[in-house]
């Protein structure tokens, strides 16, 4: 059974939102999505899914605080402790199983409420083997970048070019928080923090809320003559053990992409899409994920990047939204934002960053340090 995205709600990304509580942020995103789909959540939405983690929220059981601001009180509602694409997949399966016709999926970041972000990430490390090593956990990004660059042949300069592309691209996205006129040379001159990972290779945290409304094929036709279809989705986890996982290839993306492409009937991913929103919490991750998702052949990625093939107007527009580097990193909501951006592009509603003739797109997510978990969603318009 096919599932469509019929409502998109995004709040602007901002480094901090002191005038909003996280509840108001969720409400803001939800009302935008419901207005976009032109539906009443109390009448039309049958199930609600939130992607959240207790420690990000600062609560013991965050699920308690979900229903009211989404219109979900006295409805089937649950929390997925996962990335936005994992949450989207749960919503889609609820529809495909025949339980519901309309499901809302929510995720948000109130990262500005976190006083001790690195310590929380540290708290996710194995408590016996890794956590005692202490230090800002982004050192893991530095180690992985080093391993990846050695294995792929891509360079720190290529990563700086990703930073420049995404930060300048974000200037065309009215909801991005970190758009900047920045060249690859300038990005490369930023001080190394977790060598080879430089200051500007890392996306800065932001606050934002994202809500997507999913509908069964039958219902989707009532909402829109030309809905955006969720043609395939997948997610996967490599080993949680730092010592045991693959440090050069994003295995989780390979697993997720294989499942999503199988479902969507895609055999040549490198030619299937006009637009891709790809996880870029660290600059090198964009390149690593492009390769793992089969969107660019290993060895060709840097060349294509230099040629401008990943720019808006190139063969495959990568992160026209500005990605996490340009918009801001919104924790587990990042994956849902990537799906939302692809859907906006396919609808032709992406304003001055619109990718010409975008018919098929893909979103690739990663749950961030220290996980080896990510998702892939394949979207398309038309038959």
């Amino acid at each position: 059974m096919r599932v469509a995205i019929v409502g998109i709600g995004l709040t602007p990304f901002r480094p901090s939102t002191p005038e909003f509580s996280w509840k108001e942020l969720m409400y803001d995103a939800a009302t935008r999505a419901y207005a976009d789909a032109d539906l009443d959540p109390r009448r039309d939405v049958q199930s609600f899914v939130t992607c959240a983690e207790d420690y990000w929220e600062g609560f013991g059981i965050f699920d308690e605080f979900v229903p009211d601001q989404l219109g979900a009180a006295m409805r089937p509602t649950c929390t997925v402790c996962g990335d936005g694409i994992q949450g989207l997949a749960q919503g889609a399966m609820q529809i495909q199983s025949g339980l519901f016709d309309v499901v809302a999926v929510e995720s948000h970041s109130k990262a500005s409420d976190l006083l001790t972000y690195p310590h929380i990430v540290q708290h996710a490390l194995d408590p016996i083997l890794n956590k005692p090593l202490r230090g800002h956990p982004n050192y893991l990004g530095g180690l992985e970048m080093d391993a990846y660059l050695r294995a792929s042949g891509n360079t720190a300069r290529d990563c700086a070019a990703v930073v420049a592309k995404n930060r300048t691209g974000a200037l065309k996205n009215p909801i991005a928080a970190y758009g900047a006129k920045l060249t690859a040379e300038e990005a490369e001159r930023s001080p190394p923090q977790f060598d080879p990972l430089r200051t500007l290779d890392q996306a800065a945290l932001a606050d934002a809320g994202v809500v997507l409304v999913l509908a069964s094929e039958r219902k989707a036709r009532q909402f829109s003559a030309n809905p955006v279809w969720l043609r395939g989705f997948g997610w996967g986890t490599d080993s949680p053990n730092l010592e045991a996982r693959d440090w050069t290839t994003a295995k989780y993306t390979e697993i997720a992409a294989a499942a999503a492409y199988r479902m969507a009937g895609i055999t040549k991913p490198e030619k299937a899409f006009q637009v891709a929103e790809v996880e870029d919490r660290f600059s090198y991750k964009e390149l690593q994920h492009l390769e793992a998702a089969g969107l660019s052949k290993k060895g060709e990625t840097a060349k294509r990047l230099k040629k401008g093939d990943f720019a808006v107007g190139g063969g495959l527009a990568v992160n026209p939204s500005g990605g996490s580097l340009g918009c801001g990193y919104i924790l587990d909501a990042s994956g849902l934002h990537r799906v939302a951006e692809v859907a906006l592009q396919l609808r032709g509603e992406a304003g001055s960053r619109q990718v010409h003739r975008a018919r098929n797109g893909v979103a690739v997510s990663w749950r961030g340090l220290p996980t080896a978990t990510g998702g892939v969603a394949v979207l398309g318009v038309g038959k």
Partner: protein, 387 residues
């Protein structure tokens, strides 16, 4: 909607398990379920896991941390979380993995390790309140459940002795459970009524003990059941879940209307219009003794305020007309929050497939119902299963 069956279950000993890490507890239960279903991890298409607050184990994103313990290595694995309701909710999430066609065989693993929490697991519950409205009052769970219990007793004029009978029944039932932590063959109503008062009307023996443990289930599509020639599949015939408003102070606590809603959702799928007649036994969530009664009413197994009478008359005993918590429940077997899946959905599976051993209900049974309850006295998940 594809038909989905449970084809195997596993459950560890519920105890203070200081020597095992969360990963090891997960794997112990996973291996038991795989052995029961005669499968290996290569046969599993997707893994779903459930666990209550991260703060118990003391690991942020603990679902990621213990993923490989659940066999979630280079596979799709998802953790779902609905507070105390997770024990019956993660099997529902696994159900939709199979019912939707995404997976043919799915594994569910629920884990809880509450003993790593100092000084007591209860301290985690200091962080579950609205930070502005509730938190400054410094409440804890016993305190608010005492309010709910009091309200329930007051509205229906129920005596404390009748509620204590539930604790006695379940702790006695648990004697037959190999994983039980607090089974007591000799416990009496007087013991419960004489145990120390924690927050009136809650006394120590009204409460299930915190615990460590894990449980696992294997779910399969109808095709897989045929292919594997499973002899005693137990089918999911209805699932439901529902959350009420966060504002628990704004509702009447005497009746769990969110559970009634979730039950109706599950009963509609299971084509049940007269639960008391069409359901042969129940495993309602019983972290406190009054909760079994509260949930029997929410599950529409009796009228409001009638559950105590059924208990007094022996209807809910293992050999009664409506055996309730034949496993021994949380009160007897223990309450490692999400891992109680083993005494809820797990017990439904073991009873309906005739594998409950000394706990087996003597009468012929075809249909069972279970629920779990969580968040701020606001969420319930319901599963109906048939042999």
């Amino acid at each position: 909607m594809r038909k989905v069956a449970c084809i195997g279950a596993g459950m560890t000993l519920f105890r203070r398990r200081l020597k095992e890490t969360p990963k090891e507890l997960c794997w112990e239960a996973t291996r038991m379920a795989l052995d029961a279903a005669k499968l290996e991890m290569k046969d599993i298409d997707a893994v779903v896991t459930g666990s209550a607050p991260d703060a118990f184990d003391g690991v942020h994103m603990k679902g990621e941390y213990y993923a490989d313990g659940c066999g979630g290595f280079r596979k799709p694995i998802t953790r779902v979380f609905t507070g105390g309701g997770t024990g019956v909710f993660s099997p529902i999430a696994a159900w939709w993995h199979v019912a939707s066609g995404l997976a043919d065989i799915a594994l569910v693993v629920n884990e809880e390790k509450m003993s790593s929490c100092y000084p007591h697991a209860q301290s985690v519950f200091a962080h579950i309140w609205d930070p502005i409205l509730d938190r400054p009052l410094n409440p804890n769970l016993v305190w608010i459940f005492a309010m709910e219990m009091n309200r329930y007793m007051t509205v229906h004029k129920i005596k404390k002795e009748d509620i204590a009978r539930v604790a006695v029944k379940n702790k006695r039932n648990a004697v037959a459970h190999p994983a039980a932590q607090l089974a007591d063959a000799k416990i009496t109503v007087e013991d419960v009524l004489n145990s120390e008062v924690l927050a009136w009307p809650v006394q120590r023996l009204d409460i299930s003990p915190p615990s460590d443990g894990a449980s696992a289930l294997i779910l399969a599509s109808e095709d897989a059941v045929k292919r594997l020639k499973v002899e005693t599949p137990v089918w999911f015939s209805g699932v439901g879940w529902c959350i009420d408003s966060t504002m628990w102070t704004d509702r009447d606590l005497y009746f769990p209307r969110y559970l009634a809603q979730a039950s109706q959702m599950a009963y509609k799928q299971a084509k049940i219009d007269n639960p008391r007649k069409q359901i042969d036994f129940a495993e309602p969530y019983d972290p406190f003794d009054y909760k079994e009664l509260h949930h029997m009413e929410g599950l529409l197994l009796c009228g409001k305020g009638e559950a105590a009478k059924l208990t007094r008359e022996g209807v809910t005993e293992r050999d009664g007309d409506l055996p309730t918590c034949p496993s021994g429940g949380l009160l007897g077997v223990g309450n490692p929050i999400a891992a109680t899946m083993g005494t809820k959905v797990g017990e439904l599976y073991w009873q309906l497939s005739g594998q409950a051993g000394k706990r087996q209900i003597p009468k012929e049974i075809h249909t069972g119902v279970t629920n779990a309850w969580g968040d701020l006295m606001q969420f319930s998940s319901v599963v109906v299963m048939r042999a």
